[in-house]
Point group: D3
Chain length 282, copies 6
């Protein structure tokens, strides 16, 4: 007779100090303009992760052989965006200080910004791989500089040209596509044909990977704030992650699951499996 009383992603039950990787949740969705609810992603993913196997037949690796600590969710003051940003940055800065990698479960895409700030503080030559349906390159959104729709532009403010690689993009303003094309980011419209070349270019520089799950086609991932048909398939995502093994990834995030919009539970299952795979390549 056994008892089940875990609060962790499946098998991520090492102590903080004996772990090399920290997984944590950032349940913030305060700038979502269409449909909120990504705040519920991390707790739902943890529960449903127990429907997963720890073994990946895609990578032929097993989570059971990894040392990962699930720190739980950051506890945010709703309505105060700037304080949320600060909490995330402090947590990740401390984690980096202990020489650990991080995998963050969003929340909306704005939560990526403070994490990149923390990593950039340590890794000045950081590059960012951005998987998404949306450009996220607006200078501001309804006057706001900090928004899910501006997050990559803010990261560019930090990193500058030739450091951001965008894949799967199929929605944005005309000006955003033009701004990217004028040399600020490398933008792969619709798919990820350029990924092999990009990996070859990056070599062993430190890489942060941010996956907005709406890069996936809404047929397999309807549970998100702004579904955009025409996305990549789950098997495409498995191929991408497999390729990422060649890189020196220092941190990653998986954002924009809004589980209540998919009552079938499939979106949560997809997010959980992508997290398992990302943990296996970190």
């Amino acid at each position: 007779m056994e008892l089940f009383n875990n609060y962790s992603f499946i098998s991520c039950n090492k102590e903080f100090h004996s772990a090399d990787t920290i997984i944590f949740g950032a349940p913030y969705d305060g700038t979502s303009s269409f449909r909120p609810g990504s705040r519920f992603a991390s707790s739902r993913i943890r529960i449903d992760s127990y429907g997963l196997e720890t073994y990946s037949p895609y990578l032929d690796k097993d989570l059971l052989s990894r040392d990962i600590h699930d720190a739980g969710d950051l506890d945010f003051p709703f309505g105060n965006r700037d304080l949320v940003m600060r909490y995330i940055k402090e947590f990740v800065t401390n984690t980096i200080h202990h020489n650990k990698k991080t995998l963050m479960i969003g929340g909306e895409h704005l939560v990526t910004l403070p994490v990149v700030e923390a990593f950039h503080h340590k890794f000045k030559d950081l590059v960012v791989l951005h998987f998404d349906a949306h450009t996220d390159l607006r200078e501001d959104y309804m006057g706001e500089k900090l928004s899910h729709a501006t997050v990559i532009r803010r990261i560019w403010d930090l990193l500058g040209d030739d450091r951001i690689y965008q894949f799967g993009i199929r929605s944005g303003l005309k000006e955003e596509f033009e701004w990217a094309a004028s040399g600020h980011t490398t933008l792969n419209k619709f798919g990820y044909e350029m990924l092999d070349d990009v990996i070859h270019t990056i070599k062993d520089r430190p890489v942060y990977v941010t996956i907005d799950l709406d890069i996936l086609d809404p047929s397999i991932f309807p549970g998100t704030g702004t579904p955009e048909p025409g996305g990549i398939s789950f098997n495409d995502m498995m191929r991408i992650i497999s390729k990422l093994q060649a890189l020196n990834i220092v941190g990653a995030d998986v954002v924009e699951l809004s589980p209540d919009y998919d009552s079938t539970g499939v979106s949560t299952a997809v997010a959980s499996k992508i997290i398992r795979e990302m943990l296996l390549v970190l």
Copy 2:
């Protein structure tokens, strides 16, 4: 052959200047701590209002004989709570300046604060009738002074003792109940037995009415952020509104419908009918 191309609550189609009452939406839910989504209330209510009759058998009055303008929804910058507060206050201040009454459709309960500020600027002896399941009397919520959980406390900061009457309250911290009981507000636990006396006390002073729809039992109103069983019935609410006819109401709001949490559409139908009745007693 006719075309339907209205964007207004049913029959609220007068021009701004010929109307005596303005209805508008404040689709903000940025401090919701449990389940967001009240941002969708006003647009859903407008659509479903066309399933209503304009005639109320409860009050034996008809919306067709009223002069009401539906101004649409305020357009907010998501993530910037303070700017949202300012926009609402400016809009209502302007409306009061034109000697019109307002009925606001929330959004979460925090949107009530700037409206009360605007009315208090004109009516120094304003009293507030507060219908709700929750006390909303916290000094702060996770460190934040401006929150759906603190909104009545902030209104008390403005109005002081003996100006706030609370009905239907059935959830809160022990300290909140004690703070109210120490003389700051008049709090009717669970029901509205004290309403007749309160109306008698208020006499013809200007009154603002704020209805958090979660005062209703979740059996008839499940579509809200924090459902609290044990609430009043729809017929209780009809009786309350009928009694309010005796007062000098200068403005009102109906907040905290979160329509996506009730796929049956009943919560939206309930909210729409309560708005019709409130418009008929304004």
Copy 3:
């Protein structure tokens, strides 16, 4: 080892000729103006009826001791309202010819008209008891004489004054309430306080009972086209049916369940239990 392969309401498995009562479905919803879907009511009710007990503790009677035949559903040509009306009338006329009572499962409320026509042909002194949230007394609806919103007016065309008794009514045009009040029908607003007197008045005249399930409060019956809060409770309905035992009921119907709008299944469970009770008092 047994097999389940029934297509009938629970225990209504007698042959047509040995039954005294015929239950059948009329899955038509062609004039529904707000939300269609009552076409699915009869087949869903049959399936879920197997979650019911055959014994009623309300009436202390058991369906097992009754002789009822479930004829299945009439098969309608969608889009041709007039032919649908004819099919229903022919079926019921034939059933009456064999001296059987009928219980029809709607469909929308318009399906009641042809049944009343058939019964009126045989019983010239027929009276109609109408349980509903809506008046259904319009002379026409968007120019149409035959509509769910006009059905009781059409029945009045047939029966004339003092033959129609309406209960639970809480929504309609001002003119409809006034027309009823001018002596055409007996209309009990909101509840059923007048039922005892009405039963006393009717005595042993032949009675047709039509139950639009939206008379119930949407808290217990959300699965309907136009939910109207403020309705009667399920226990009220049990009390009503118990009182109906005193009457000479020749036929009845239960209409306007739209099961897809209530994913909890409760509305279907409610409809099934009301049908069981009505079968026990026929």
Copy 4:
């Protein structure tokens, strides 16, 4: 501070007389035999269209540079199919008279018939491109000549052989496939391999395009009356629309979204994006 009070598809806000294209809704679903609800498509699409960008990265065109008027929805008498047909025909005839193109949002597929009648009155050499999962070629359906299942056959009655091109067809009676194959229509089973040749054949003759959205695979478009697995992908539809730019399209429709059957909202998002693309090629 701005107000949102539009009732139009995104950016289709020109006046009737200054527009070259008219978009309107035909919310009729009276002959739907399986699951109704396409009556809700146009109003839901308008609301959700504000989650779209106006810029298409597929066509590199922007709705902001187009002159389109959204006329709203035709207001129909439910239950009277023949009057509905007449209203649609009158509206479109008037629009053609003003030399404007139309894009109609259904409703069920039968609404296409009166539009084609109106266009055929002006363009005697009209050809019809029909995208659908179903043949829609029955001579009658349960005795009815006018039905969603007979609509293309009725159009053939009007246009005759060699004028109708069908794509994506994967469901129908054996007789329908045989009737098409005997030379009456050009039918591309399952996909759209023949589209290039068809475009080459049509040249610059006037073309009406009718898109029954169930041509799409239900993985990406579950919100429809009769979902048929095995359909084309969203990217296939983007490729088709891109090819249509070579044609002289005078009118188009997008039918059979039944939004309530897809609680994720993805089907509505898909329909909205297809409408944006069709408007950009009109």
Copy 5:
């Protein structure tokens, strides 16, 4: 900055040995005949319990002043009913051995049987208070002696006459009602009018309380396997629990929440609040 990583019912975070009450989950639904899913109750209740206040305005008591340990969920071998029964009995026997009270979250109603067996082993004069819509008094169900439909009969096998008090019962076979009435149990049909007398009779004998949540009306509790309209209200349940304070309760359970059948989340909120109140009277 704080982290949230609890797996316990709100504030039930004492260690086993310093607690006087143990709460645990028994997620078994293997004999559910109509709709399974009560296996998900305990984990959903724990998550949603964080939407609750710890303070009860009904009892004027606060969970913060109690010493309760949440042991988590028993981990069951699906498909092996008899082993499930044994695991529960062993766990509770051990808990009783440490002189602690238990509150079990079901699961279906059969899980009550092994708990009562364990308590009866220690308390020979145990009486059982049974709150339920259903009699649960069948001798067998489809040949099976151990079933949710037979559980109270099995408890009677153990305790004998005059030891079981049933409230709220409104569904069952005619034979079950007759068997109860012949002196085997005290059965209060529909309501709880006899509760005061029963409490007076029981005096200070040890009491086990089993609450099948379907005693509640499905308007407020639709999320259960077999919803039965006509149940008691939430406020009735609050009154019942308040009365239970007069008794010497040694253990209790709350069973038959099936959360997936109520997408509004209200059923889970109701269950959580009832558990809070029961913990406060244990």
Copy 6:
């Protein structure tokens, strides 16, 4: 005027003795570990099958020309797994005795075991084709030998090496993949590339085909207990079934539809069409 009162899969209305194929339901889900509900599959499939055409454009065959009897559902004692196994085996043994083929609708995957036992009793050289996302090769699951997660291992106990062919497999323990790879079964990871060779190898030996519908990608089949992204498409399944025409199939099953988890109804439509196609190749 016609009546609809069938309880059969569409057009499977021959008598038992004049049919060559028997279709029946096995609504058991007692060992489902994640999400139960496959018990509802067979009754939902029968209803929705009337939205299907009998003609398959994939195979150019029509169900109208086949002689099939729908026997209904086996009626099971919930909670008694071993008795359920016996009932299924007895039913199929009797059917085989009358020289008929069977198509079983599950239920969870464990129901396949007694059917294979029955067929193996007659056909000693039986081979099994297994289409699934999961290996189902565990020696035990939480100590239980009989479980949905062990069913193919139990079949191997019966048939031994080189008799089981697995396709589409993408989830399992590392040990299961290794056990298969060590020569016990032929396992095609992810897809079905080996199917042509397997068919060539099998030749005319008697074949049993078991289709766990979760082999399909959850984009097109979300309504199942444990959705696994990365599955095959519906068109892949059509191609597989077309290839199966070359084999000597003596029986088949289609399991693990859990219809309540897909409110769009698409999963049920997919299952129904696969059953139609399987019936056409039996």
